[in-house]
C-alpha cells in the first residue's frame, strides 16, 4: 500500500523534517532535533539523505565557537513535498 509515495519522504523522521522546513524560512539543527524528538545521530543521517537528494540545503557555520548547522528547504524539496501530499490525497479519496 502507498507504494507510489516518494520513499525518501515516506519515513516518519524525514517527513517530519520536511514538514517543519516547508513552514519555515530556515531552522537550526537543534530546533529540528527538539521538534522531531529525535537523536542527533539519526537526525544527522536523515538530513544528509535529504540533502543528497537536493531536497534541503545544509549550511554549516559558527555561532561564536560553537558549530551551527542551518537547514533550508529547496525548490526541489518543495516540489517533492507537494507531490507527496497530492499522492496522499489520492489515497485518502479512494
Amino acid at each position: 500500500m502507498l507504494n507510489d509515495l516518494d520513499p525518501l519522504l515516506h519515513s516518519q523522521l524525514r517527513l517530519g523534517i520536511m514538514s517543519l522546513l516547508i513552514s519555515l524560512e530556515s531552522a537550526e539543527f537543534i530546533f529540528l532535533r527538539e521538534k522531531t524528538n529525535s537523536t542527533a545521530g539519526n537526525l544527522s543521517v536523515q538530513l544528509d539523505k535529504l540533502s543528497e537528494a537536493g531536497y534541503i540545503k545544509i549550511e554549516k557555520s559558527f555561532k561564536g565557537k560553537k558549530p551551527l548547522t542551518t537547514c533550508k528547504i529547496t525548490r526541489k524539496g518543495i516540489k517533492a513535498f507537494e507531490d507527496y501530499v497530492n499522492t496522499l490525497k489520492q489515497y485518502i479519496h479512494k
Partner: protein, 190 residues
C-alpha cells in the same frame, strides 16, 4: 521519531505533517528591547532638540549624536543575529527586512536632509507609521498597531505646527508609537 517507513499509513503521514506544521507555526518573536532602546533615545533627542532651540543654543542638532550608540548597537546585534533564534519563519524574515529598509530610508533622509533644509520631522513620523503598524499586524499585537496609527496622526499634526513644536509632537509620537507599546510587549513576554 523512528525512521521506519514500512508501516506508515496515509493517516499517519497526514498526522505527522499536521503536527510538524503546527510546531513550526509558533509566533514571530519580537523583541520589546529595540522599541524601548529607540523609543527612549528618540524621545530624549526630541525633547533635547526642543529645549536647546528654546535656550537659543547655536547647534541644537548636536543632540542627535546620542543616536549613534544605538545605531552601532543595533547594527552589531543585527550582524550577530539573535542568539536564541533557532528557527526563522517567513514572516520573521520579512519583519527583519522591513525594519532594515526602514533604517536605510531614515538614514538616507537624515544624510540628504540638508537639501530640503532639514524639514524632515513630519516625513519621518509618517514613514515610521509603516513598519510599526506592520510589525503589530505580524505579531498580532494591538498596541503596536495603534502605535503605527499614532505615528501617522502625529505626522499629519506635525505638518501643521511650527518647527520647534514639531519636536514636542515627535516626542509624543514616540511615546505612543514605541515606548508604551514597548513596555506593554515587555509585560506580555515576562
Amino acid at each position: 521519531m523512528e525512521t521506519n517507513s514500512e508501516k506508515l499509513s496515509a493517516q499517519q503521514s497526514l498526522d505527522i505533517i499536521a503536527d510538524m506544521i503546527d510546531q513550526a507555526k509558533g509566533s514571530v518573536q519580537q523583541n520589546s528591547f529595540y522599541f524601548l532602546l529607540w523609543g527612549w533615545t528618540i524621545l530624549i533627542a526630541n525633547l533635547g532638540m526642543f529645549s536647546l532651540i528654546k535656550l537659543h543654543y547655536e547647534y541644537p542638532y548636536a543632540i542627535w549624536l546620542i543616536t549613534i550608540p544605538p545605531w552601532l548597537y543595533s547594527l552589531y546585534q543585527g550582524y550577530n543575529r539573535d542568539g536564541s533564534a533557532k528557527s526563522v519563519t517567513h514572516l520573521g524574515k520579512i519583519t527583519v527586512w522591513l525594519w532594515l529598509s526602514f533604517g536605510i530610508v531614515i538614514f538616507t533622509l537624515v544624510v540628504f536632509g540638508y537639501q530640503i533644509n532639514f524639514h524632515l520631522n513630519p516625513v519621518i513620523l509618517v514613514v515610521s507609521a509603516m513598519p510599526t503598524l506592520l510589525s503589530g499586524i505580524v505579531i498580532k499585537f494591538k498596541p503596536l498597531i495603534v502605535g503605527g496609527i499614532v505615528f501617522w496622526v502625529m505626522g499629519i499634526i506635525c505638518f501643521m505646527v511650527p518647527t520647534d513644536i514639531q519636536y514636542l509632537v515627535g516626542a509624543l509620537a514616540i511615546l505612543g508609537g514605541y515606548i508604551i507599546p514597548g513596555y506593554m510587549l515587555k509585560t506580555k513576554q515576562a
